[in-house]
Symmetry: C2
Subunit: 250 residues, 2 copies
C-alpha cells in the first residue's frame, strides 16, 4: 500500500483485550489427528471463516479462497486424496485453503469501487490503476520474469527498489503469504470457539484439484480438517526447539 499524506480517517476507540484469553487460544491449539462425530455448528464455522477473511494481506488484494467440502462423494474422495489420514477421515469439516495468483488484477480494480470514502486519495488511485499492474503483472514474452528482474536490478543500483515479484512462482509465494495468514486466523478462531483443526499438506494435489475443480491459477496450500478434538486426537506433547535458534537480534 502506498502512503497517504493527509489521513483523516479515525478508527473507533480500541477495546481492552484480555491477553490471557488469547494466550489460551494459542497455547491449546494443537494439530488434532482424530475428531469426534460432533458437527461444528454452522454459525461457528462461518464465523471462523469470516475471521479468516480479516487477516492482513498484500495490498489488500485478498488472494485467498476457502472450499468447504461437503457433498458425501467429494468428502470421501477428499479423504482418499489426503492419503487417508485420520485427521481427514474423522474431521467434521474439510476446508481446502487455496491461494489465487490471478485474481489480483480484478481485485485491484474493485478495491477502488469499494473505496469507503467519497474521495479516493490520488496516490491510492494511481497505485491500483497503474502501480499494482506494473508491480504484480508479468511482461509479455518473459515467462520466467528474467527481464523484469533485470530491469528491477538496474533500478535498484542507485536507490532501494523492490526486486519482486517477477515470475509466476513469485506470484505463488506472494499469494501463499497472505493466504497462510488467513489460514492461521481460521485455525485460531476454531480453537477460540472450542473446536480444533489439523492443517494437512500430505495430499495428492492432482486428485484434489479434480475433486475441487480448481481454476488453473489456484494453488492448494493446505487442507484444514476441523471438528471437536477426540480424546486420543493428539499423539504426543508439543515439541519446539529452543527459541534462541529462531529469534535473533541484530
Amino acid at each position: 500500500m502506498p502512503e497517504i499524506k493527509k489521513p483523516r480517517y479515525q478508527e473507533p476507540p480500541l477495546p481492552e483485550i484480555d491477553v490471557e484469553e488469547f494466550r489460551k487460544v494459542v497455547m491449546t491449539r494443537r494439530s488434532v489427528r482424530r475428531f469426534t462425530d460432533e458437527p461444528i455448528p454452522e454459525a461457528v464455522l462461518q464465523d471462523c471463516l469470516d475471521m479468516a477473511l480479516l487477516a492482513p494481506n498484500s495490498s489488500n488484494l485478498q488472494p485467498w479462497e476457502f472450499y468447504l467440502v461437503r457433498s458425501p462423494e467429494k468428502r470421501a474422495a477428499m479423504a482418499k486424496a489426503c492419503l487417508n489420514q485420520n485427521a481427514a477421515k474423522t474431521a467434521a469439516e474439510l476446508i481446502v485453503v487455496v491461494a489465487r495468483t490471478a485474481t489480483w488484477k480484478r481485485h485491484s480494480t474493485e478495491v477502488l469501487e469499494h473505496w469507503p470514502e467519497e474521495t479516493i486519495p490520488r496516490v491510492v488511485e494511481e497505485y491500483y490503476k497503474k502501480g499494482a499492474k506494473v508491480h504484480y503483472g508479468r511482461l509479455p514474452l518473459d515467462p520466467m520474469g528474467k527481464v523484469k528482474k533485470f530491469i528491477r536490478n538496474v533500478a535498484g543500483l542507485s536507490r532501494p527498489f523492490p526486486r519482486w515479484p517477477n515470475s509466476q512462482s513469485d506470484m505463488e509465494l506472494w499469494a501463499c503469504k497472505s493466504t497462510s495468514l488467513a489460514a492461521e486466523n481460521l485455525m485460531l478462531a476454531l480453537r477460540a470457539h472450542g473446536f480444533d483443526s489439523c492443517p494437512m499438506e500430505g495430499f495428492d494435489e492432482k486428485r484434489l484439484r479434480r475433486i475441487v475443480k480448481l481454476p488453473s491459477d489456484a494453488l492448494v496450500l493446505m487442507v484444514v480438517g476441523a471438528g471437536r478434538r477426540a480424546e486420543n486426537g493428539i499423539y504426543h506433547a508439543q515439541i519446539r526447539f529452543n527459541r534462541d535458534r529462531f529469534i535473533h537480534e541484530i
Copy 2:
C-alpha cells in the same frame, strides 16, 4: 506427520475460552502505518515471539526465523530498505520474518533427539530418519525437480500420492506457509497485548539481505513493523470484498 496406531498421550484438559476476547483481537487488528514513540516492553515483545513459535508447521520442522533489527545503524538502513515507508520509519520494532528452506534436514534429526516420550514410535522414527529426507530432499542433478516430479506422477497413477515438493521453489513455498502462520500469531499477539503491527512486503530484498546478513537458503517473507498505534496510524476503513467470492461449498 505420519499417523501412530496406539496413541497414549493425553493433553491437559482444555480451558474455557472467551471467544469474544479473541474476536476483539482479530477485528481490531489493522495494518498500522504510523506508530507513536512508545517502546514495546521487552517482556511483551518476547512473549509475542514465543506465541509465534507455537504456530502449526509442516512436519514440525519449524522453518521460521525472526530477526529483531535494533542496532541504530541497521535500523536506519532497514527503514531505507523498506522504501522509507512510514510504518518502517516510525515502528518501535522492526522484525524481519524469514523462512528457511534448508534447516529441515537438521531439524528432522533433532525432532527425534527432543522426542518427549521415552520410546519413539517406529513410524515417527522412520519418517524423520528416512521419509522426510525422501519427501523434502532433492535428487542430485535434478535442480528443477523434474525427475522427482516424474517419479511422483508415475507413483500417483495407481493411488493417491503426494506430488510435492520437488524443487527449490517448492521448498520456498513450503517454508513460506509455516512461517506465515507464525507471522500471523505474532501480529495477533501484539494486538492482544494492546500493540499493533504492519506487515510490509515493499522492501528492497537485496539491500535487506545485506543488512541482516542472511544465509543463502533464507527467504525474506515480510518485515513486520510493530509498536503503539498512532492516532493517525490507519488511513481508511477496512475493505473486504463480499465473502461469497472467497467461501465456496462443494
